[in-house]
Amino acid sequence: MIQVNNVVKTFDRFRALDGLSMRVERGSIYGLVGPNGAGKSTILRHITGVYRPDSGSVLLDGQPVYENPEAKSRIAAIPDELYYFLSASTRDMMRFYRGIYPRFDDKRYQSLREAFPEVDERQPIRRLSKGMQKQSAFWLTLSCCPEVLVLDEPVDGLDPVMRRQVWSLLMGDVAQRGTTVLVSSHNLRELEDVCDHVGILSHGKILLERSLTDLQDNILKIQTAFPEGELPQLPERLNVLHVTQVGRVHTLIVRGNLQEAKAKLAALNPLFLEALPLSLEEIFIYELGGEDYAVRDIVL
């Protein structure tokens, strides 16, 4: 289990992480979402033991990660910007990782070759295409057999088929090995398909952190129309986050229980009333809307 407690990180005078706390359960796939500059990469670098927090702690199964080789040997990461030694091939890097990561599995490396057939393991990685480089990164990282996999924009640059392949491999690891996956991405539709937990990050803090089911159950999209055309006075106890109108149809984003919300709106005698599922992307946008976040108006 990864536990991040009140982590503060300041770069010069900019507070990149502002008392961030989060918790990633063992065997879960945790999606970290947030706008640009929210601090996603920063917290991932703390979790991989690269950055030292100004205050607070990052723990893996109760042990601090920073300067703890034992904890770090259980974590493998694919950063958003890959780095390999100049002229090093996938095979060179495999040899390097084999000498560094105690859990590195040669057999797995050999078996994963089939998953990435187009990657020439003898060719310098820097000469591979961006997508190939990403595949090489997955190949090497998964061969390290980590307990925790930290991925920053992991499938960026991969074609749709390879994306599916990679996610399939990850899901397999989670299912068979109990691997914990912490993934940061802007591709919310993709995260929605794979994540079981989501944390929304803004201004260096976690805004909310829930299972995806809870998250989707907690915010509702309701479409309704009234005989008068205009939206009547809504009940005060109905927590409406956002309202839009197209013709006579009003779309309400409401926080709370579906049945309760429908009952309160039904009391206003609408012509029709229908609840629709919210995508993760919509949840992200509406949740951040309360954080005086300008994206909502730009996106909507």
């Binding site: 991989t48 690269v50 080789p69 034992e70 950063p79 030694f85 000498g99 560094i100 990561y101």
Partner: protein
């Protein structure tokens, strides 16, 4: 766990070592070309080039070459050290590589030590390889000489250890690859340059300032490693063969290298990885860099600009120091922020400007008591004075006269006090027109104080007036008292020093040949000691070695000659020098004293020895000045 607690990771070491193979391959090849290959080529070409004693030449090369190359080897070590540090710690200078390396399950100690040792191996392993290869070559050629080669191995490795560790130490403070060699290069000479500049500024600002104490300069030399190591690696030749000037210095720097490596590790442990790309990576060093940079820019720019514009007044220097200091402060901020938009940080620049102004004003307006300080005679154990010897210009010129008697010390402090009060006259070049003929003194004072410290002062351009010669209490009167005091004059000539040696020869210079009408030198055979004794007798009677504070005084014109008497003296080797296997560098000296018309014993002997005849006459200084038409030769 393979790397959990270890300070060293073999995979990391091997990776760093083999990744950068061109560095150590090139470095090793360089030394192969310099040491063993010339032996091979000499052996191979010996017959064809007509060398008759190839074996002797090879033995000589085996003994000399390893030590002779060390002087240049120090410079090579300085360059190679920073190249190796740049290579193995290059991962710190890009956020991608820094994140990758620090995400590995390794402690920072492991990362540091593995990379440090890899970089050091780039230098030491080639040394060892060259050492072994050279022994093999020498053995095959029958000219094995292990000691010079071993000295080369130790000294070159010691120099490399120091320079590489120093470069690694610098590498820990920056996050920018280009900044590393710049920092390293600057820090190698910073102390020397800054001390020189500060000394120059003090000389300009502080009336009476001479130079920093020698102990400070000794420290400065040690803090300028390339220069000090090159001094230590110089070779001199004893009967037994070439020797290094100061191998102990290399050992000291080698130990300092180890200390620097440990210090670098401590800095690395606290380094923030996010500083990759920053010019200064360690936060607490940023203000030091900013204001240090500004201070150096102020000093350097100020001194050079004032010199370039030929403005030597303290006000001009203050202006330029301030100007460049403030510019330097903004420039440092640009480097730190990696942006040209730094005007917002004007407060720091203003603060620095005010501090520099206060410093310049404080120094120029009395130097915080420096200028007015004259030691209490009771606190002075001795004082050495130079500059009161006046004319003529012989061996008494430029010599220190040391006073230890309280009354003499009191007299010197009185002169010193008068000199401190003449700042305005000296700086403005003013002199008193009413006081007649004027001359200038340059006075050097070195006090040894009772508390063991030394106080030095130099005053240039102190005006003295002939009209004041008889006015008690004036600078002229006091200076003349010293210049004409026979005990002082005897110290100026320092006869005792020459009398420790053996008189070899004597001769006269500037003797006028009345027949040929030119000045000639006249050598005196075999009577040097007799001539010395005659001169000493005249000196005791006060007829030779007479000093004149004013070189153009009528007395000097009348009572000295342009003709000088010279003695060459050879000194026996001292016991200390005899123990030193180095050959003596200064085994003889020449004593010169100007003849006078009144030196009766000397002149009589010179005439008896036929050194002076009707044809060859000494010339009065006054005659020399007016020209041959009005000459009246000495009787």
């Amino acid at each position: 766990m393979r790397s959990g607690t270890s300070f060293f990771n073999g995979t990391l070491y091997r990776k760093a070592f083999f990744r950068f193979w061109p560095i150590w391959a090139l470095y090793g090849t360089l030394w192969l070309l310099v040491i063993p290959f010339p032996l091979l080529t000499t052996a191979l070409q010996g017959g064809s080039t007509g060398l008759t004693n190839t074996a002797g030449r090879l033995a000589e090369m085996a003994a000399d070459t390893p030590l002779e190359v060390l002087f240049t080897g120090v410079l090579v070590a300085a360059v190679a050290g920073v190249v190796c540090a740049m290579a193995v710690f290059s991962y710190l200078y890009s956020i991608r590589s820094a994140c990758m390396m620090h995400a590995l399950p390794l402690r920072r100690e492991t990362l540091f030590t593995s990379h440090y040792l890899a970089g050091l191996s780039f230098l030491l392993l080639p040394h060892l390889a060259v050492y072994l290869f050279t022994i093999a070559v020498e053995a095959s050629l029958g000219c094995v000489d292990l000691w010079p080669l071993t000295q080369w191995l130790l000294v070159q490795s010691g120099a490399c250890l120091f320079f590489y560790s120093f470069a690694v130490f610098c590498a820990m403070f920056t996050g920018h690859l280009v900044a590393l060699p710049l920092f390293y290069g600057v820090l190698n000479v910073l102390v020397y340059v800054v001390t020189n500049l500060v000394e120059g500024v003090c000389y300009e600002f502080l009336y009476g300032f001479r130079r920093f104490p020698e102990t400070l300069w000794d420290a400065v030399r040690w803090l300028t490693p390339a220069g000090r190591l090159m001094e230590g690696a110089q070779v001199w030749y004893a009967a037994q063969g070439p020797r290094l000037e100061d191998p102990a210095a290399v050992a000291i720097y080698g130990a300092a290298g180890v200390a620097l490596a440990v210090a670098a590790l401590l800095v690395y442990r606290t380094r923030h990885i996010e500083s990759a790309g920053d010019v200064v990576a360690v936060r607490i060093v940023r203000p030091v860099f900013r204001y240090g940079f500004a201070f150096c820019a102020g000093l350097t720019g100020g001194v050079w600009t004032a010199a370039l514009l030929m403005q030597d007044s303290p006000a001009a220097l203050t202006f330029w120091v301030l100007f460049w200091g403030v510019i330097g402060c903004f420039a440092a901020e640009m480097l730190l922020k990696k942006s040209f938009r730094v005007l917002g940080s004007w407060r720091g620049s203003l603060g620095l400007g005010v501090a520099l102004l206060a410093l310049c004003l404080g120094v120029s307006m009395g130097g915080f008591g420096y200028e007015g300080r004259v030691p209490d005679p009771d606190q002075v154990t001795q004082v050495a004075v130079r500059g009161l010897e006046g004319a003529p210009y012989d061996s008494a010129s430029g010599r220190d006269v040391t006073f230890t008697k309280p009354e003499d010390i009191a007299r010197i402090t009185q002169i010193h006090r008068l000199a401190t009060g003449m700042k305005a006259e000296v700086y403005d070049g003013r002199w008193d027109d009413q006081n007649g003929a004027c001359s200038y003194l340059t006075l050097d004072l070195t006090y040894q104080l009772a508390n063991g410290s030394t106080l030095t002062r130099r005053y240039s351009g102190l005006p003295i007036y002939e009209a004041d010669l008889e006015t008690e209490g004036t600078l002229t009167w006091l200076a003349n008292q010293i210049a004409t005091d026979r005990d002082s004059v005897e110290q100026m000539y320092d006869f005792a020093q020459y009398e420790r040696g053996r008189l070899v020869e004597a001769w006269l210079s500037d003797v006028w040949n009345t027949q040929e009408e030119y000045y000639e030198e006249v050598y005196i055979d075999g009577s040097a000691q007799e001539l010395w004794d005659a001169m000493r007798q005249d000196f005791a009677e006060g007829t030779i070695g007479v000093r004149y504070l004013f070189e153009d005084s009528p007395e000097r014109y009348q009572d000295t000659c342009v003709t000088d008497l010279h003695f060459r003296v050879e000194f026996p080797e001292s016991e200390e020098a005899a123990r030193d296997p180095r050959p003596a560098t200064e085994a003889d000296a020449t004593f010169v004293i100007t003849l006078t018309p009144n030196a009766s014993h000397t002149l009589a002997l010179l005439e008896r020895l036929d050194a002076l005849t009707e044809e060859r006459r000494p010339v009065r200084y006054g005659d020399y000045v007016v020209g041959p038409e009005e000459w009246t030769f000495l009787d």
